[in-house]
């Protein structure tokens, strides 16, 4: 589903060069739930941004669902991101003056779905996260956990094959965090590949596989990940390059 070979990312100013990622290699197979851990500044978020095609990389190779990302222009990356990748952010990133329906609608609009298809998908995904009855509510009227559920619904509405979650429970109390984590596990069971960046070792332990990043490099991983059996019968296995 996602493969990076000897990837590097260097931030340059006229004074210094910062190597955010160096010789970074990872291979996430379809259906996996991978937790990426590491101390602050280790390069976790940079990895996630590059994985989500939000940032360009400086060197190496990178494929998303078999598509070589190198040399793609901005529009091509946007389309690939829109079709295949869903994002969940620590800060939810809902648009405050749009109601839940319209928030979930945002990626679907850019995807070009018909009005009927969009409506069906929005209703389905909001039902899936348990918020169908609050479609016309605004984000400020919801708790943090509910807002994150809306963000998850938004990420899922376009049926992405890869879900990238950046500290999805970082702004939630433990009860709400548990609920969000259970939802992510459920989504993964139904076949969506998930890569989750987290500081929380307890959450990381619930993933099938942990990847530890220090100084922009993968330093540790579980060699024999345990795959959940996807509801859709996905039997992909997992390996790390």
């Amino acid at each position: 589903m996602l493969k990076m070979n000897h990837l590097s990312k260097v931030y340059r100013t006229h004074l210094i060069e910062t190597h955010a990622l160096r010789d970074f290699s990872i291979h996430v197979r379809e259906g996996e739930f991978v937790a990426v851990t590491g101390p602050s500044g280790s390069g976790k978020t940079t990895f996630l941004n590059i994985a989500g095609l939000l940032e360009e990389f400086s060197g190496g190779e990178f494929w998303v669902d078999g598509v070589d990302v190198r040399g793609m222009n901005d529009d091509q990356r946007s389309r690939l991101r829109n079709e295949k990748i869903g994002f969940i952010f620590q800060g939810f990133n809902l648009i405050p003056d749009l109601n839940l329906f319209d928030n979930v609608d945002v990626p679907l609009r850019y995807r070009g779905f018909s009005a009927a298809d969009r409506k069906r998908r929005i209703e389905e995904t909001l039902s899936r996260v348990g918020l169908a009855s609050r479609m016309k509510h605004y984000p400020a009227e919801l708790s943090g956990g509910q807002q994150q559920r809306v963000a998850i619904a938004r990420a899922l509405a376009g049926s992405p094959r890869l879900l990238l979650a950046d500290e999805p429970t970082g702004n939630l109390d433990s009860l709400m965090a548990r609920g969000v984590m259970e939802l992510l596990e459920e989504i993964n069971r139904q076949g969506t590949t998930i890569i989750m960046v987290t500081h929380d070792p307890e959450l990381a332990a619930r993933a099938q596989r942990n990847v530890h990043v220090i100084d922009g490099q993968v330093t540790d991983f579980e060699s024999e990940p345990q795959l959940r059996v996807p509801a859709a019968g996905n039997d992909a296995n997992v390996a790390i390059a």
Partner: protein, 435 residues
């Protein structure tokens, strides 16, 4: 997608009502100012009779002094003498032709409730009506025989007929002008050329006449023109002396229905002047002209240099308003940078976001344009109140309404280009990280 962008644009405008109001009012003010002056400018210079303006020609014959031109560098007089008016009318070489001049006579109404008043008229020939096509409400113009007979007949304007006869069909009735009774042959419908092109020497934006009488009648009654009169040498004493002089005071128009007819008529004029030269008249080199309506309006400087400068200044003000709008839009779009980053993360391409924000700028433009139109309307009302002579041209027409809307949208989109481009350069990862 356009509907979605429109919906987002309206939503975004509602989000910051004060900022939105400032931008819209800024554009409206610029549009109002520029469109007020542009409307006046446009109507001053626009073709008053587009369906035949290329067929109607003013006649200019250079009978001026040998020592100096009528107007530098070498302009012939813009009116003709009585001698030329008479000769050209008798020759009848054009498809239609009419000599004419402005008269002001006292009018003595039969209705005792209306006091006598001074009224503006035009002494001309029957072809005037066929050439300039004023619409008739009742009756019609006089004929060639009545021209030749110096008949006491007249055609009234709609306004004068309203004043004297309450708007009823007055044909066959009499009207007393300067103690002489004239039979009313026709009554015009409302007619007010935006530019009174057939007599620019006496005010391009003056009201149309209240009545029309045969030229020959006015001459027989020794009625001096009430308009401009220019002479380069003194005329002999008396009315006959004046008629025989080289003073120019008569407007002469011809209708020539083809280029060939125009060439023929110019040859006729040149031959006529060459014959006059043999008689010791027309001391200057041959310099006859036949400008059509639009050439005449331009040559006579109907659109003054002041009006052009005013339009330039008002557009400079529009640019100032646009610069202000650019600053406000930039601030607005930069405040939305986190949302823009988020939309990029959710799959929007740069071009989609660019279009979305240009549509938002366009919505500001349309709103500003509509309010600008109201300001233009108020501005034109003020112009009419301050300058009575611009009453006919200080008006909004559909071309100007569409121009205002188009201009405001174009201006707002132009103002939105840089802020939109800047907003779309936002790196989504950076924005999302700073959430």
């Amino acid at each position: 997608m356009f509907a979605y962008y429109l919906q987002l644009g309206l939503h975004s405008l509602k989000r910051n009502p004060l900022l939105t109001a400032l931008m819209i009012f800024g554009i409206a003010l610029g549009i109002g100012t520029s469109m007020t002056s542009l409307s006046v400018f446009y109507l001053m210079g626009s073709d008053p009779i587009p369906w035949k303006s290329d067929k109607l020609h003013a006649v200019q014959l250079d009978n001026w002094s040998k020592e100096e031109p009528y107007r530098p560098p070498n302009e012939p007089p813009d009116q003709v003498t009585y001698l030329e008016a008479k000769a050209l009318m008798e020759a009848g070489k054009a498809d239609l032709q009419a000599a004419m001049y402005k008269v002001v006579w006292p009018l003595q109404p039969d209705n005792a409730e209306i006091k006598p008043f001074s009224s503006l008229g035009r002494a001309t020939f029957k072809d005037f009506f066929a050439m300039f096509e004023p619409p008739f409400k009742y009756g019609n113009a006089w004929d060639a025989a009545q021209d030749n007979e110096h008949a006491r007949v007249t055609v009234l304007s709609s306004a004068l007929n309203e004043k004297l006869f309450g708007g009823q069909d007055s044909t066959g009735k009499k009207v007393r002008l300067n103690e002489i009774e004239y039979t009313i042959l026709g009554v015009l419908d409302k007619w007010q050329p935006r530019v009174k092109y057939y007599d620019l020497t006496n005010g391009a934006f003056n009201d149309a006449e209240e009545y029309y009488v045969p030229f020959t009648t006015a001459i027989e009654l020794q009625t001096q023109g009430s308009g401009n009169n220019s002479c380069w040498e003194s005329s002999k004493p008396g009315w006959d002396g004046y008629l025989a002089s080289d003073c120019v005071w008569i407007q002469f128009w011809v209708q020539l229905n083809s280029q060939a007819r125009e060439d023929e008529y110019m040859t006729f004029l040149n031959n006529y002047v060459n014959e006059q030269k043999k008689l010791g008249r027309f001391p200057r080199p041959l310099n006859n002209r036949l400008p059509d309506v639009n050439e005449w309006i331009e040559a006579q400087g109907v659109v003054s240099r002041d009006a052009q400068i005013q339009v330039g200044l008002s557009f400079a003000f529009l640019i100032v308003c646009l610069v202000n709008t650019i600053g406000l839009l930039l601030a607005k779009f930069m405040r939305k940078s986190s949302e823009i980053g988020l939309r990029r993360a959710l799959g929007a391409t740069r071009s989609q976001l660019f279009t979305q924000h240009l549509v938002e700028a366009g919505v500001i433009g349309i709103s500003g344009g509509l309010i600008g139109l109201v300001l233009t309307w108020l501005g034109l009302m003020a112009v009419r109140a301050l300058y009575a002579d611009l009453n006919n041209v200080a008006r909004l027409d559909w071309v100007m309404v569409l121009t205002a809307i188009g201009l405001s949208v174009a201006a707002a989109v132009l103002a939105g280009l840089f802020p939109t481009w800047k907003a779309c350069r936002i790196t989504p990862a950076v924005q999302l990280k700073t959430q």
